[in-house]
Amino acid sequence: MDPISASLAALGMLLQPKIILLMLVASVFGIFVGAMPGLTATMAIALLVPITFSLEPVAAFAVIVTSTAMAIFAGDIPGVLMRIPGTPASAAYTEEAYAMTRQGHGAFALGTCVTTSVIGGLFGTAVLMIAAPSIANFAVKFSSYEYLWLGLLGLTASIFVAGSSLLKSMIAMILGLLVGCIGIDVAVGHPRFTFGETALLDGVNFIPAMIGLFAFTEVLRFALKPNTHGGETHRADGPIFKGQGALLLKYRWNLLRGSSIGTFIGALPGAGADIAAWVTYGIGRRFSKEPEKFGTGHAEGLVDAGAANNAAISGAWIPALVFGIPGDSVTAIAIGILYMKGLTPSPMIFSTQAPLVYSIFWAFIIANLMMWPLAWVAIKSSGKILSTPRNVLMPIIFLFCMLGSYAINNSFFDVGVMLVFGIIGFVLEENDYPVAPVILGLVLGRMIEEHFMSSMMKASGNWLAFVDRPIAATLAICTLGVWSVFIWRGVKGLARTGSASTALSNS
């Protein structure tokens, strides 16, 4: 099927009353979760997984795409009105936006957040629509060697962008990869680390693990510290969209820069909307003509990062669809859903499942266009949303965590998996180990092992075979180059620790 026919077929599949209604419901859900401090977009998607069971793939992905886009925008609402980011993706410019609110420009700040989110989201979608099929055409030639290096490069990139200590990110990722080893192995079908538990023969179910890592940890954290998200709530009075055109025209280059960098960062494995926002906020200040105004309620501070975080969520789908390598935590879940629906993310998906792929592109466009009116309603009713008592909400969320974990396989064992991963995630986060690399390791573990084993067998002991092909060699150079930087920084860190210790013992 040629791209235009596939695209039109996809649009036809998407513009069904049932799917549009589902997208509207998903929007309301996404806005609500995103606007509640402490609830993330990833958590929203993890809780939606059981709902997607009964849906056709097109409807399932439309729901996921819409909820994510809305949640990332809605995270700005409590950031602007309460100085508490609703999701981590809004944290970078919360101070800036709240400063505008204190000056009486809260509604205008929210208008800027919506407009930049829509433009950033549409830009990211355009890049996804152009880049993903082109990369897929190129990637058809890949053999197990290229996939192995690509997987390793993806994992390595995720360690570097996790925003934590490199060593701790690496440990978290290896833990995820080790969990991926549980179950029957890909080479000879030998059960590994199952300890006689038949429920583990197919491996650890990825969705309960994800719910545990991202949702259980939040509920437990709230149980221990319920007052973390308190604070005064301002009202968003005044016109929301008036004056946005002039602002965006003035900062058009910021908008373009934020959208481009956001899409690129989103496409990096493990780096999502939050990192995109931090990086672009920093770049925005660095290249601003008025850097001294940043942090004092300067609208320019919202443009780069506001566009970047929504652009990143589309960018994250590029490696997810083409290689099965998630660009962020949400696409990690989406890959899990693709597998559950019997679909394998690979370059071939663009020819075998073209209408489905194009329906994801269209879902992004429709979701971003729906954002304008829905965001207006959300901003106007923000007082009601933000006053939802969290001591009622959290137990309800927890019920859905347990139910969602059970419903994947109708197995109460998976509720236990959720609990175990929740505890692991809590301990890791409390000790500054990031949890996103765990998920990436878990998702990519099987794919990397499969290509590793098949490359080892093909190479028959000849290690040069791993870098014999030009693309494999290029990817190997990139991967080994990043590893060298990693080792160099590690050695430098050790040397610094050694000299500090010597100084301490001498004093």
């Binding site: 709902i51 009964s54 290896i174 137990p395 590690g490 620790t497």
Partner: protein, 159 residues
């Protein structure tokens, strides 16, 4: 709840040793040197190296740090009760969900959590009743995901 870096690193080192020991017993492919144990062994070796590096970097710095440091904000009765309720609710759901069914176990888990989170019992009971019935109908009727009924099996036609 912060755990001493050294203790965590030693635990991770022990985990790597366990994985390598287990993987050494996995069979190899006929006529080949590779097998199901190779990949876990490579990973566990990398984990061991990373753990040793954490141990090396934190050895001097954390000598005076206690094994576990608990945040003063959570050292109160309410926090402990709420956290215990989260674990109890999950344990109850996982252990008795099949035998007692979703309606009973879900109601006990949710109701218990709402009470532990400070709601008055009348409000907690009302929310629990409405939500459990709605969720059950939604999952079973709309999404066609069967939820166990347990002793309420005789109500199968209505729920």
């Amino acid at each position: 709840m912060r755990i001493n870096e050294r203790v965590l690193a030693i635990a991770l080192l022990a985990l790597s040793a366990f994985v390598i020991w287990q993987a050494s017993s996995f069979p190899k492919l006929a006529g080949m040197t590779v097998g199901p144990g190779l990949f876990p062994t490579v990973l566990a070796s990398a984990l061991a190296i990373a753990s040793i590096l954490v141990l090396a970097t934190s050895w001097k710095q954390t000598r005076a740090t206690p094994l576990v440091t608990i945040d003063p904000d959570v050292r109160n009765r309410q926090s402990i009760i709420r956290a215990a309720a989260v674990f109890a609710s999950c344990g109850l759901f996982a252990a008795f969900g099949k035998s007692l069914g979703f309606v009973i176990v879900g109601a006990l888990s949710l109701g218990g959590l709402l009470l532990a989170f400070g709601l008055r019992w009348k409000l907690a009971a009302a929310i629990t009743l409405i939500l459990i019935i709605t969720v059950d109908v939604f999952f079973v009727r709309v999404m066609r995901i069967p939820l166990p009924l347990g002793p309420l099996d005789f109500l199968g036609n209505w729920l």
